[in-house]
Structures are given as structure tokens and as C-alpha cells.
């Protein structure tokens, strides 16, 4: 899922450094600061849980694809945000193909397994306002 935490932090810095015209100094500025405060809270959650969620998802997707296809998938060792996301993109593309194939051949059991994995993937990346 994009954006990744480094993008968020770069964006916060850019937004803070951007001068606003006079007509945007009142209610708009207050709203903007409020959103940036929420982003800071979300960023704290992501800094805490984001890498673990990515490592878990990458492993879970790799295992499901390997089980369904019989072809083992080797995971990389790059645990930077960029490295984990690049691997995640590769695995998610494989998961999309696997799901399409399961639908085409009417493999209900595999479809359900994938749908359940989607639920767990989304839950693992959950962010909470005020949390």
C-alpha cells in the first residue's frame, strides 16, 4: 500500500516548509495543521508496526503461492522500507495472478483461502485514529 512511511515524513516536512498565501491563514490553516497532527499519530503507529506487518505479509503471501503452485519462493533479506515494499509489490502481483487463476478454474477452496488472507493483510496494516 502506498504511501510508505518515508513518503509521509517527507511530505510533512514539505508541507511545513510551504508558505501559504494570506487567504489561507485562518480556517484552512487550522484544518491543515489538524490533518498533519493526525498524520503524525498515524506515522507513530506505522513506525512501530509497519515493518512487522510487511514481513508477515510477504511471508504469508509467499507461502500461499508456494503451496498452491508447488514452486517455493525465496524471500530477500532487504528489510528497509523500500526493500520490503519492492518485495511486497512482486508478491502481490503473484497473488493477483494466483487469485485470477483460481477464479478461472473454479477452485473455491483456494479462492476462500486467498479471501481470508486479504482480510488478514488488511487487518495487519490497520491504522487507528487516536490510537
Amino acid at each position: 500500500m502506498t504511501p510508505a512511511l518515508p513518503d509521509i515524513l517527507i511530505g510533512q516536512a514539505a508541507a511545513l516548509a510551504t508558505p501559504l498565501p494570506p487567504e489561507a491563514q485562518g480556517e484552512y490553516l487550522a484544518g491543515r495543521v489538524g490533518i498533519m497532527a493526525m498524520l503524525c499519530g498515524l506515522a507513530a503507529q506505522e513506525a512501530d508496526r509497519g515493518p512487522a506487518a510487511r514481513i508477515w505479509e510477504n511471508r504469508a503471501v509467499a507461502e500461499l503461492i508456494a503451496k498452491a503452485t508447488g514452486a517455493p519462493i525465496e524471500l530477500g533479506e532487504d528489510t528497509t522500507w523500500r526493500g520490503l515494499d519492492a518485495e511486497n509489490a512482486r508478491l502481490r502481483r503473484g497473488l493477483i495472478e494466483l487469485h485470477e487463476a483460481a477464479e478461472t478454474r473454479g477452485d473455491a477452496a483456494l479462492q476462500m483461502e486467498i479471501l481470508q488472507l486479504y482480510v488478514e493483510m488488511a487487518a495487519a496494516r490497520r491504522l487507528t485514529l487516536g490510537g
Binding site: M1, D7, Q12, Y28, M36, I96, A122
Partner: protein
């Protein structure tokens, strides 16, 4: 020259009388257009207005003419549409396209993320909310200004036109593979809904947060018509019901009324008895459309140099919440 000076120059030229602009202030929210409130002051008096100007980059690519004409289509009708005053598609003195509406004072929007946004007024607000939505559907298309910008689809094409559009947005703007929303798109194509019961004006973003209420149980204005189009009446209903706009711990729709009551109110006002199987299709579609918007927001945020934090919020927090909603719905529906 400041924006206030530019606007005053435009108003003076077009009205033929010297006009001052006072209290020009950008309003937060409204990521698809820059929105400002101001007073126009002449020798004749003072009036409150809203300026909606195209931003350099926006959350959603929308047709400002269709938005303007949709609002104008409901002038004087009982749907709390603001009064659309003027549209300048070439931008004139303001350099970017814009339109002006009369301001509705005395109201506040509710946050979709508030735990109980309407408290004791929830029933009254819910009754008006779904009644207004139904009355928009009930409005015959013949002669409406919006027809100057849009052509009605055939009833059997409504779903495909919307799905093709939003799937195309995802295809164009996705920056990381999204298996969940792609699975939902395949399901929607595999099991399309029946033809629309009628073709009507669709507000396109009719939900909590996009109307002003007076705090005493009365809706004063329905805003944000930028995604207005013509289509299946169930589309607006399903969009308003998306769990994204509701507190997950509250069974009511957006903290207003329960599902059965909402459907009954809407059916009375629209004259359309909702087909529940078709509504299920449109509810899954609503989550796909939502995810398309949030995916677009993330791209817009990056492409726009990270200038608007609201785009980061939409493309990050909201996108993840939408994925949870989609995944839960797909799992409940089971295999294709």
C-alpha cells in the same frame, strides 16, 4: 495581485459596478477544488458567497461544468442545493476555472470520523438526509440544466459505465499492486446488477461530511456536487451506506438511522423500491469507487510535491480502512 484583488477585479468587470471583496478565506476540506468564503460589497449592499476554483492538482478529476449545472438543476427545489451564480470555465481574472455560489451561513458539516456526529438529532437528520437523496432521484430529467453537460446512459449501461471509469482510475493511478480492490472489480464484472429502475441525477458524493446542518436537526445545504452524473439511483444510496462513513461500533448509517429505516425513507421519497440484490452490487461498487479515489489521492499527493496533507491522509489512512471494508465484504460473499 492577491486572489482577493483578482476576484474584486472580476466582479467589478462583470457586474459593472465597483465591488470590494472582504473576508476572503480558504475553507479546509474540499480536496477536489480550492474553496473560499467571501463577502462581495457594493453600494447596493453586501452578500456572502463561496468561490470554488480548480486547484493545480486535485483529488478527483471532475467536470466543473457538470457540477455547476447539477447544482443549478436543483435551484429552488427541496433538496437544499446552494444557489449557483456563475461559472467561468476559462478562469478569467482568477487564472484557473472557477464558479461562484451563494453562501449558506449558520451550518456546520459533521466529521465522518466522529463517534456520534448528530447525537439526539440523529433521527431527524437521517430522515432529511435520505429524503433529500430520494427527492433528487425522483426529479424527472427532462429539462434539467445538467443535460447540457451530460447524456443519460441506458438503464442497462449505468453499472458498466461507472465501473469502467473507476477501474480505469485504479489502473492509471495505482502505484503499488492492490489485490483486494482488483478482486472486487472482477466480482462486479462477473455478476452485474439488473438494469437501473430509472436513470436519475446522482450526486456522486452524498454522505456525512458533505452537508451542513444547523445543530438543531435541520440540513441547511447539500454540498460537494463535483462527482454529479446521471445513473442508477442505487448508486448514491450505496455510497452513503459505505462503512467508511460510519463508526464501526455503531450499527446506524453514519450515526443517523438504521439500514431498514434508511431504505424506507429513501423509497418513500424516491418512489423506487430498492432491489436489495442490486443494492449489494452497488455497495461493493461504492467501496471500489472509494478505493479508486484514495489511490488517486496518493498519486496526486506525490505528483503534486506533497503539498496537500489531506491527500496523504486519504491515500494512506482512508485507503487502508477501505481495504479492510472490501476484504471483509469479499470474504463474506465467498468464492466466485
Amino acid at each position: 495581485m492577491s486572489l482577493a484583488d483578482q476576484l474584486a477585479a472580476y466582479l467589478t468587470r462583470t457586474s459593472g459596478e465597483p465591488t470590494r471583496v472582504e473576508g476572503l478565506s480558504r475553507i479546509s476540506g474540499g480536496a477536489s477544488r480550492e474553496t473560499y468564503r467571501y463577502d462581495a460589497v457594493t453600494d447596493q449592499g453586501r452578500g456572502g458567497y463561496i468561490l470554488r476554483r480548480d486547484p493545480p492538482g486535485s483529488l478527483i478529476e471532475t467536470d466543473r461544468r457538470a457540477e455547476f449545472l447539477a447544482i443549478r438543476s436543483f435551484a429552488g427545489k427541496d433538496v437544499a442545493a446552494p444557489e449557483a451564480v456563475v461559472l467561468e470555465e476559462q478562469g478569467a481574472e482568477l487564472e484557473r476555472p472557477f464558479f461562484i455560489m451563494r453562501r449558506v451561513d449558520g451550518g456546520v458539516p459533521a466529521s465522518p470520523f466522529a463517534p456520534d456526529p448528530f447525537a439526539a438529532r440523529a433521527g431527524a437528520i437521517g430522515d432529511q438526509f435520505f429524503s433529500i437523496m430520494g427527492r433528487i432521484v425522483a426529479e424527472p430529467l427532462t429539462g434539467l440544466p445538467i443535460l447540457e453537460a451530460l447524456s443519460p446512459p441506458a438503464p442497462e449501461d449505468c453499472w458498466r459505465r461507472e465501473l469502467d471509469y473507476w477501474a480505469g482510475v485504479i489502473e492509471a493511478d495505482e502505484q503499488h499492486p492492490q489485490p483486494i480492490v482488483r478482486a472486487a472489480i472482477r466480482r462486479l464484472r462477473h455478476r452485474p446488477p439488473p438494469p437501473a429502475a430509472r436513470v436519475s441525477v446522482i450526486h456522486g458524493d452524498f454522505r456525512v461530511g458533505n452537508f451542513l446542518h444547523d445543530g438543531a436537526g435541520r440540513i441547511l445545504a447539500v454540498l460537494d456536487w463535483e462527482m454529479a452524473h446521471l445513473g442508477d439511483p442505487l448508486e448514491d444510496l450505496a455510497w452513503a451506506m459505505d462503512p467508511l462513513w460510519s463508526n464501526p461500533a455503531d450499527p446506524r448509517i453514519s450515526g443517523m438511522v438504521g439500514l431498514d429505516e434508511a431504505l424506507a425513507i429513501w423509497a418513500r421519497a424516491s418512489g423506487v423500491e430498492p432491489d436489495l440484490a442490486a443494492l449489494d452490487w452497488w455497495r461493493l461498487f461504492a467501496s471500489v469507487k472509494g478505493q479508486a479515489i484514495w489511490i488517486s489521492a496518493a498519486k496526486e499527493w506525490r505528483d503534486g510535491g506533497f503539498a496537500e496533507p489531506i491527500l496523504a491522509f486519504s491515500g494512506w489512512f482512508t485507503a487502508r480502512r477501505q481495504d479492510e471494508i472490501l476484504a471483509a465484504r469479499l470474504a463474506a460473499m465467498g468464492p466466485l
